[in-house]
C-alpha cells in the first residue's frame, strides 16, 4: 500500500452508496497499517461547505452554480488541506470527489467537456473506488437513515429539463395546453392576453356584456 503514500484515494458514489461508511473503513484499515490519513470530500470545506448546505435548496435548479460551488469547495480543501498533507506523506482520502460531482452533472445535462475542463484544476487520484448498489437497496438505506426520501436528494429537480428559462417555458406550455383543453371541455371562453391590454379588455368586456345581455 506504500504506493498510496502522498496520494489521493477517491471514494465516489451517490448518497446511500455507502461512501462515508467505506471511507471510514479504509481510514481505519490504513491507520492500522501505520499510514497517516486525512479525510476530505464534497461539501466539507471551511470556505463553502456550510453555505452550500444552507443554500442548496434555493439553487437546486441552477446546476452550473451548484457544480461550480462544489468545485470551489473541493479546490479549497485541495489547496489548504490535501496539498500540505500529501507533501508530508499522508494519504488523502476523499469522501466524494470529481466522479461523484461529474455523475451528478451528467445526470442533469451539464456538458461533459466543460466539466472535465473545469476539473482539470484538481489533482487526479491514485485510486478511485466508484461505489454502486441496486437502487432499491440505496433507497432503503436512505429511509433507514433519514426516515424519509428527501425530495432534493431524490432528484426532484430532474423533472425540469435544461436551464431555468427552458424549464419554465416547458412547464408553461404544458399548463397552457391543459388550460385550453379544459376551457373547451367545460365550455369556457379562451382569451389571449398576449396582445395589447386595451384590445384584450374590450374583448373581455364584450364577452361579459354579451353574457349579461343573454341573461
Amino acid at each position: 500500500m506504500s504506493y498510496l503514500v502522498g496520494k489521493i484515494v477517491a471514494v465516489e458514489g451517490v448518497e446511500g452508496s455507502g461512501r462515508t461508511l467505506h471511507a471510514e473503513g479504509i481510514r481505519t484499515y490504513l491507520e492500522e497499517q501505520g499510514y497517516g490519513v486525512i479525510t476530505f470530500g464534497l461539501g466539507m470545506s471551511k470556505l463553502l461547505g456550510e453555505a452550500i448546505a444552507r443554500k442548496k435548496r434555493d439553487v437546486v435548479f441552477q446546476r452550473r452554480t451548484l457544480f461550480l460551488a462544489y468545485v470551489t469547495d473541493l479546490a479549497d480543501q485541495v489547496e489548504n488541506l490535501v496539498k500540505p498533507a500529501v507533501e508530508s506523506g499522508f494519504v488523502a482520502l476523499a469522501d466524494g470527489y470529481v466522479l461523484t460531482l461529474m455523475a451528478w452533472g451528467l445526470t442533469r445535462g451539464l456538458e461533459r467537456n466543460w466539466m472535465e475542463g473545469v476539473l482539470r484544476a484538481l489533482p487526479r487520484p491514485e485510486l478511485t473506488l466508484a461505489l454502486i448498489a441496486p437502487p432499491e437497496e440505496i433507497m432503503k438505506r436512505i429511509i433507514r437513515k433519514k426516515g424519509v426520501l428527501d425530495p432534493l436528494s431524490s432528484g426532484v429537480d430532474l423533472c425540469v429539463n435544461g436551464d431555468l428559462y427552458q424549464g419554465f417555458r416547458q412547464y408553461l406550455e404544458r399548463y397552457l395546453n391543459n388550460m385550453r383543453s379544459l376551457a373547451s371541455d367545460k365550455g369556457g371562453v379562451t382569451v389571449d392576453t398576449g396582445r395589447d391590454f386595451k384590445v384584450v379588455q374590450e374583448e373581455i368586456n364584450s364577452l361579459v356584456g354579451g353574457d349579461l345581455g343573454e341573461a
Binding site: R54, T65, V71, T72, A75, W114
Partner: protein, 207 residues
C-alpha cells in the same frame, strides 16, 4: 441585448453602466448586474477576502460561482425574455484578474465558456494614474481589493493600486483586440463618454 462594461477600478465604468441602464429603461425592459454581487456567494467572498483565505485557484473558482449564480438566475432568463441586460464587468474581468494571479488564461476561458458573448463590450480606458487621482478625489482611501493586496502584500495601497491596475490594464489591452472591445477614452468627461455609448447602442437598437 447584452451590453458589457470593462475597465480598471476608477475608470468610471459603473457610472456609465448605470446611466446606460436608465436610458435603456425608457426604451424597454432593462436590467443592471454588477460583478461579485450574488446574494449568497458575495458574503462568502467578502469573509474569505477578510481572512485572506483565497488562493489564485479558489479566487478564480469562487468568482465563477458568483457569476454562474447571477447568470442562471438573472442574465440568461432575462436575455431569453428580450430584456436589455447591462453588465458592469463581465467574464473579461475574470480573465484579467485571474491571469494576473497566475491562473492559465486558457483554463479561465473554458471555465466561463457557458456565458453568451455580449452584443457589445465597452472598454472604458484610463491609466492607473488617472484612476487613482479620481479615487483619491472621491473618497481618499484605496480599498485592499483595488490595490491587489493579495498579489502585492508588501506594497502600500497607492503603490499597490498603480502596479496591480497597471497589470490588469495590460491584459485588457490585449483582450481589447482579441475580443473586439469598443475602446473608449475614459479621460473625457462622463457626459462625452455616455453620449458615445448611447450613439453606439442606439445604432444597435435601430439596426
Amino acid at each position: 441585448m447584452l451590453i458589457a462594461f470593462e475597465g480598471i477600478d476608477g475608470s468610471g465604468k459603473s457610472s456609465q453602466a448605470r446611466l446606460l441602464r436608465d436610458w435603456l429603461s425608457m426604451r424597454g425592459d432593462a436590467y443592471l448586474t454588477e460583478w461579485n454581487s450574488s446574494e449568497w456567494i458575495h458574503e462568502v467572498i467578502k469573509e474569505a477576502k477578510k481572512k485572506n483565505a483565497l488562493t489564485p485557484l479558489t479566487f478564480s473558482l469562487i468568482h465563477a460561482t458568483d457569476f454562474a449564480d447571477r447568470y442562471e438566475r438573472f442574465i440568461h432568463p432575462m436575455i431569453s425574455s428580450g430584456f436589455h441586460v447591462v453588465s458592469d464587468r463581465y467574464v473579461y474581468t475574470a480573465y484579467a484578474r485571474d491571469t494576473v494571479r497566475g491562473v492559465d488564461l486558457k483554463w479561465v476561458k473554458e471555465l466561463y465558456s457557458f456565458a453568451v458573448r455580449p452584443t457589445i463590450t465597452f472598454f472604458i480606458r484610463v491609466t492607473p494614474q488617472v484612476a487613482l487621482a479620481r479615487l483619491k478625489a472621491g473618497r481618499k482611501t484605496v480599498k485592499p481589493a483595488e490595490a491587489g493586496a493579495d498579489v502585492f502584500p508588501g506594497l502600500d495601497p497607492e503603490e499597490g493600486f498603480l502596479k496591480y491596475q497597471g497589470l490588469l490594464l495590460e491584459v485588457y489591452d490585449r483582450l481589447a483586440t482579441e475580443e473586439g472591445f469598443v475602446v473608449l477614452d475614459g479621460e473625457r468627461t462622463p457626459r462625452e463618454v455616455q453620449i458615445e455609448i448611447r450613439r453606439r447602442v442606439g445604432e444597435l437598437l435601430s439596426g
